[in-house]
Symmetry: C2
Subunit: 442 residues, 2 copies
Amino acid sequence: MRERLATRHASDVLDADGPVRPLRVAIAGFGVVGSSVARILCEREDLRGALQLTAVVNRNVARKRAAWAPESIAWSDDIDAVLGGEVDVLVETIGGVEPARAWVSEALRRGISVVTANKLLIAHHGRALAELAAVHGARLRFEAAVAGGIPAINAIERGVAGDRLARVGGILNGTCNFILSTLASGAASFDDVLDRARALGYAEADPSNDLDGVDAAAKLVVLAAVAFNLELHLEDVRRQSIRDVTAVDCEYAASLGCTIRQLSIADRHGDAEVDAFVGPALVPLDSPLARVFGADNLVLVRGQYGGDVTLSGRGAGGDATAVAVVSDLLALSRGECREGIARIDRAQPASRPPLPYYVRFVVRDRPGILASFAAVFARHGINVDAVLQRPGHPKSRLPFVMTLEPCGQEAAAAALNELRALDAHEVPPVAFPILSGGVHGA
Amino acid sequence: MRERLATRHASDVLDADGPVRPLRVAIAGFGVVGSSVARILCEREDLRGALQLTAVVNRNVARKRAAWAPESIAWSDDIDAVLGGEVDVLVETIGGVEPARAWVSEALRRGISVVTANKLLIAHHGRALAELAAVHGARLRFEAAVAGGIPAINAIERGVAGDRLARVGGILNGTCNFILSTLASGAASFDDVLDRARALGYAEADPSNDLDGVDAAAKLVVLAAVAFNLELHLEDVRRQSIRDVTAVDCEYAASLGCTIRQLSIADRHGDAEVDAFVGPALVPLDSPLARVFGADNLVLVRGQYGGDVTLSGRGAGGDATAVAVVSDLLALSRGECREGIARIDRAQPASRPPLPYYVRFVVRDRPGILASFAAVFARHGINVDAVLQRPGHPKSRLPFVMTLEPCGQEAAAAALNELRALDAHEVPPVAFPILSGGVHGA
């Protein structure tokens, strides 16, 4: 069985001068990304020596068939028939965990390499699938799973392979970045901006996975696997929703020389301890993180030797994501043999180092409130750095901000819990970390 | 002969599970970058299975010997003895064309792969050396030759390999970026800032290669080779010195919502036509190009499918550049087989598409000057967009600015030549292109 399947391996279609025949590519899922991949493979004549699109698998495939696609492509709704046919690589652009996991597993078991754009699949099952690939002599690649057209995985696996990375992350969710960068430009409420994002196709009907950080956390798990060779689980990533951010917060942030972004940051301490966070944070206006607008993404890495490197570009979109898929296909056609994330250790939890915090309250104003709040922070050993109160708000629903000097995550959380129990609040108080110091923040 | 040498090839120290023994690495040149490479190889225990530093070659090597280096390293001033010994890869960090070219050629002829940080060597002889490598079954890699720790070559060769690139370039010279970003912050003349750059070690005693764009042009030639698979020669790159930029220009640029940067841009038109330029340009303040400060670098690519991708980070420095070298070494240890720039076609010249221009004059003011200048532009079919004159300058030496609507390079040059011949100038007029439209400009 292995003998027959072995003929599918990339190494068997290569000799010293390059591929002896093109890799035969099947695409599973013919939505925005899958059809862009197909179009690039059909349009670009210079790729034909390396890659040949042979099959497309999709439910009700008849309605998907594209007029520009050549006759030679087989259209099928039967994955088993396609995997049993002449195919060297399966491109998976279905999204979601099932049936993607089942299809990808079956391909790998048959020695068919897989290129996927599926962040959830890799975040949940990346290590197991990479092991399966290794056992069957296939390859698993997933450049498109993180940050669309930004070649983050390649940059980390190869471009800065010579460094020892201490941080990876960035702005990984275009929906949140659109909402927060639009909110910062003023003149609209969170809900209005969310509606606009829906109208533009940037947000889904139920945007929870974006707003609450699930999407970005999945991408952060994938980045951390590659950057640290450590396996994080989705539940290891502390998440805070950007639903906590209001237009008032953007005003206060601006008066602090900052703007608010949904950041995803994984920091490694020692060999295997990782602190990972997704949520709103204040970033200085002169940081590259503050200069990412609309649905763009930014990926940053911080190396022990090379310092900070950032990559930015389109975080989503069919064509940009398809470029990442095709780049992976070309790497397979060259037989590049990076082993990937099959043998990575489990990450250990780490506590976040002290950070300054922004805390926003909305209260029914009365004498002594400020003193009572400050007393709570003092009891937890936290110094208040500044108190800000912008004019123009009614005393019955008064927003104001306290910034805290760097303090531990636990102390900040405990103080905030105690504060929440007080009866002055019109809206529960919220706290965001403030990133400062260095290009990407401390 | 080939049989014996063939044992040195990366593919012979690899099996399906990775390297069977470490690649033996010799470093030629033990300056800032070479010694950083050696230190990383000695410090990082996790690399020892893949890479082993066996020799260092340098003139008067005795004075270079580092206390932290293990006894097992051979220190030599005889390149032939080192290349004749047990070595799989030569790291070349000598810089300059000779003797680097001779040493690298000899290594490749012996089947020894080469990793180089030498932009001039690759700009002048990259294609010939890549051919030599291909003939002898060796590899030639040069990530460190462009933009220090930014993994630009990897990102282009692999990360966006699936795209068809139309533009490559960026901010490739840290010295110029330090000078121009400092100049824009005000309060100093060009010469004062240049002195400060010298004091900080950012500029050499003779900074001509930096200021006049030779250094950046060499890097642009290397990027274009990889991005377009086209061979540019250094003399194909139009260069303008940043010595033309004064503090007054930074003030005028700011009033136009721009700042001035030394940009390096190569644009491909059609298959093989390339327009390449290095020199000062006005970039909008909200462009990523305007957010590169100090000696940092930024590399941008623009793809037909994926749009704009930017990479930024440290453009120089021993450790950042050494990371790029070590990343290349790791790629060799994995036997990655990208063929490189051995078989690229000669680029054909292309004319630059129309661009808006900034033209700054310094005149002895008298009635009619503006009309006479405008008439010259009109005769060349060029529309003046705006005239700017900031207060506070004497009439005997009055700087003012005309911005031009998009016009061809040739028309702008002809008009400027005609203007230069007029007798009103205290300083010859200068013109810089204005980049606008899109993240990185049109």
